[in-house]
Symmetry: C2
Subunit: 369 residues, 2 copies
């Protein structure tokens, strides 16, 4: 597919790092540009939806008054977004930016009114604007938002679906994590959990990724998992199975967390009816402002909150880490699954991300391109 | 009633300005103190609940690292809060403050967990912390929160219940306002509206302050008011009449705004069932953070939003003005109803408050006490 610059975005994304031609607004007062980066996976990744060995992220930069803010898009095909649709959305958003990047809420409100979906592209712009804001104030975003960086919960480390032996090997590689997130797919689930239990006593979280085919199967599996030191279940069945999840919620011995069932701003009444909590991801909701909205809405509904991520550069993880102290469950490990990360983000210490103390989102570019 | 300092707070509040003994925390790293101020009303004020000629506000200051943040409590007896209960709550909150005032969300979360109600005291502390934060970053709060200060709606000016002649006189005194808010009390309502219509064509908002006794009376009055250039109705009947308001919402030709029915964080599902919108007041919800939560929840429910105030110093109006560009209806005139305001806050220009461009909340003390 060809972008506005006559470059096949699918093609370049597999090879090089190319900056898209900068778009300047208001007599150069504000410049926005973006590039796609190919991130090789440390382990080829298998979940219920498929397998692959790399990811494409798009890095957005917004320059104004000598300050550069960075943001990240990690589009996920599950939500109908790809590097190409992200590029297209960024072109449209770029044309809507004002000369002055300060009024982030107004800017994103206008973007949301005119562009449906494209949450990854919106998240990248939202992040870049917040990074710019923090740098302009010379303060980390969590400081600006009054968030106590010391109160962050341990992050879980994701273990993908694989053979029992490979899963055991992966688990042994990550002893520093206080909690593991196991991806199941409804096939060799019990065998996998038992293999993990042979090598660790750590608490486990289970992400079914919509993998269980019906509510009775899901309930039976969850009842068994509750005996295995599992503390919560993410997205047991297909997101569209609202009634089945409501049935399951009434019976499940473990909390159910909506992941695929929450896209955009979601319908919190429907979510609260069918799940105990929600998994908030910047790439699903469109950035830090909508994530804060979701946190406040989930709190109003008495729901628990997980903050998750895609497989993505530390730039996106640094953004999420800024608000992570506000949620119950932290699942920010996407940057640990890749090599050649173009950004340096939060350090990990005893299983907890250290919220960066640098201005803005606190991510540093590793290479100057 | 005697406070911890052996001073009768009811007594001093009528006479002098007295600073309560400062409370220092963590070897003087943080100091909090407060004082009560008596604010004479320009017009003796009559609403459905009663009449009076002054108000007591409590001014809180938090000092840390040479920076002072100010916040305001304007307790309202309708919500069971008085200067005395506010003083008591501030004593308790003061003991819970950490040495470092930065993590505002954690601080207020802890305060909310331990202290029920006392929204005016909580609002004062929330404001003082945000004023401190903004001053420490040398930036206005609206800038920090990405809010476009130029997008503020015109504010309404409140006209209290009075004789038709006095109401006409009050209306003639305020030609600069683009919209007037008329307090009705279910007695001489039509006569008052007709008297106003004899002297102005301005759009009107009507605040019934729970004054209509039943739903059929309310509907009949609202249907007539809709023919008189009235654009919305605030709190038609008693806040506890949820079912009656739901009935009225289905039939009312004008939007209904919940005021007394929204206290604390409210039950947004119940509110959305009975009203078209909500009136958010810092003194009812407990400050700027809960107000932002309410804004995001109201938006999720598709409800309209008014930002209101008590009769209060410009300090409180300056705080509300920071977030006023986010709401549909601005009703921030409480500082225009008093004399001897101890703070200088937002200027009024062509009926719109000018969001202060000074750091923090942007209010300046008029006198050094």
């Amino acid at each position: 597919m060809m972008g506005d610059h006559g470059i096949s975005t699918d093609q370049i994304s597999l090879n090089d790092v190319i900056w898209f031609k900068p778009i300047s607004l208001g007599a150069m007062n504000l410049q926005i540009q973006w590039r796609q980066v190919r991130l090789p996976l440390i382990h080829a990744f298998t979940i219920a939806h498929g397998t692959s060995d790399f990811r494409i992220n798009t890095i957005v930069s917004i320059q104004h008054q000598g300050i550069t803010g960075f943001g990240l898009a990690a589009p996920n095909p599950r939500y109908g977004e790809t590097p190409t649709t992200t590029d297209q959305a960024l072109h449209r958003i770029a044309m809507m930016l004002p000369e002055n990047p300060l009024a982030i809420r107004s800017i994103m409100h206008k973007v949301n009114q005119h562009i449906e979906g494209a949450y990854a592209a919106k998240a990248a712009v939202d992040m870049a604007l917040h990074d710019w804001l923090g740098k302009s104030l010379d303060a980390p975003l969590h400081y600006i938002w009054g968030i106590d960086a010391t109160q962050i919960a341990p992050t879980s480390m994701t273990i993908g679906v694989d053979t029992p032996e490979k899963v055991q090997k992966k688990v042994r590689e990550v002893p520093q994590f206080k909690v593991l997130k196991i991806k199941l797919n409804g096939e060799r689930d019990r065998e996998l959990i038992q293999a993990i239990r042979d090598v660790t006593d750590q608490p486990l979280r289970v992400d079914a990724n919509e993998g269980w085919r019906d509510k009775t199967t899901a309930l039976k599996e969850i009842e068994w998992l509750a005996t295995q030191g599992v503390e919560l279940i993410e997205q047991p069945m297909k997101a569209k199975f609202w009634g089945e999840h409501a049935w399951l919620k009434e019976r499940s011995p473990l909390p159910l967390i909506a992941d695929e069932a929450l896209d955009g701003q979601g319908d919190m009444t429907a979510l609260a009816n069918a799940y105990h909590g929600i998994n908030i991801k910047l790439m699903k909701c469109g950035g830090l402002l909508p994530a804060m909205d979701l946190i406040s809405q989930a709190r109003a509904f008495g729901m628990s909150m997980m903050l998750g991520c895609m497989v993505e550069s530390s730039l996106g993880i640094a953004a999420a880490a800024q608000i992570a102290p506000l949620v119950d469950y932290v699942d920010l490990d996407g940057h640990l699954l890749i090599r050649d990360d173009p950004f340096l983000g939060p350090r990990l210490e005893k299983g907890r991300l250290q919220v960066p103390q640098r201005p803005g989102l606190g991510a540093l570019e590793r290479l100057a391109h």
